[in-house]
Symmetry: C2
Subunit: 235 residues, 2 copies
């Protein structure tokens, strides 16, 4: 069970309230997860240790990043929680997202991204994910608070892992860094060809990130994609 | 959906931290539940309103009780969350408890009891429940915090209700007051007959409460039980 859950890393992006970081750590401990990355936070404050209760070790081994791109670089699959529908980004239904999360192999590095308490994840931040998911809720407003969103996600992964049959695993993708690099190449080819231009750039870029992000690209996929976009496809 | 969830009342027993009461209200709002009872709390403090965010209306309509027996009197089925195994009280696995919760009819009054942050529900407080349930967790310590335990329970009820086929309902039990009254009669009969005596009183009383509590006694059950215990059974 521990091996199964060590594949997961919780990534909090620009969390604002130290109390929430502690609550997240406690929720991680309760559900058996241990790896925490913090983006835009330079250290752990006393208030976080206070709300973490018996989960201070998780705060003690948390890693800090200035930029999301560095926090996700070594991960292989990234899921981003977002309560809002986005124009350019697709979202998986929650249960489908959980199914995907638990079906990657134990040795895979899976990131779970949660955004700032007020803003959630920005469009720009969603680029660093393969999949987006929403958590079912009864009301439009308010959205779940940060620790609540993390808790529901981890609890569902935890209980789903306990009921999982053996021997079914999804194929191993490239690291996020390699996946993004491939998408960058595709984007620049599309610009060269004039498919992406000044007026459609933001929206089209996001849609391309969404589309090819969802592939969770393997080495083989990359080879094919690069061949397609450099040699060819007449757009 | 709203009708389906109006059957549920969250009962917080001796909550200590006003912030937690607010978090519970927000979690209730997110998952679509509205009725809150507070035992051992005389009013809502500013701190609770602060953490409730958009769920202040739930705090505004919360009801207050000095005694758990009064808070549960008009309910028909009561489930109590407890992280600890108890000598005298059985516990349902979490998923079974959720199945039961969602299968009572819409018009039924179902209480969900959550104890004090440090102590949980005492043995004495568990008497006021038909069923006990634990929430799966990966570590023995710490247990889920109060708002987290409420959130997981409500989220699972909420998502389960959405997938429920129509037309299956459990039979309507007596009110808690009537159920407890029946158990009290049984207990006094057992004392008369010497089955319960000074040295076994606490433990046996709790086991009887557990056993007959789990029946979720209907009118018909009570008639039979009272007949059995007054006319007869040769203990």
């Amino acid at each position: 069970m521990n091996a199964m859950k060590s594949r997961f890393t919780v990534v909090l992006v620009r969390p604002e309230h130290p109390a929430n970081i502690g609550f997240v750590a406690r929720n991680m401990k309760n559900t058996g997860f241990g790896q925490l990355k913090l983006v835009g936070v330079s250290g752990i404050e006393e208030e976080s240790y206070r709300t973490a209760v018996h989960a201070r070790d998780i705060l003690g081994s948390a890693r800090f990043y200035d930029r999301l791109t560095d926090a996700t670089a070594d991960l292989e699959v990234v899921f981003a929680a977002t309560s809002k529908k986005r124009k350019s980004y697709s979202r998986l239904p929650f249960e489908d997202a959980v199914e995907k999360m638990v079906h990657f192999s134990d040795s895979m590095r899976v990131g779970l991204l949660f955004g700032n308490e007020r803003t959630g994840l920005t469009s720009e931040e969603l680029k660093y994910s393969n999949y987006r998911f929403g958590i079912p809720q009864a009301t439009e407003q308010p959205s779940y608070n940060l620790a609540a969103a993390v808790l529901i996600t981890l609890f569902c992964i935890y209980t789903r892992l306990q009921h999982l049959p053996d021997g079914f695993e999804l194929e191993r993708p490239l690291t996020q860094d390699e996946q993004r690099d491939t998408i960058r190449i595709i984007l620049s080819k599309l610009e060269e060809k004039g498919f992406i231009h000044k007026t459609n750039k933001k929206h089209t870029t996001e849609m391309i990130c969404d589309l090819f992000g969802r592939l969770c690209m393997t080495k083989k996929d990359r080879r094919l994609l690069l061949a397609l976009f450099s040699k060819g496809i007449d757009l």
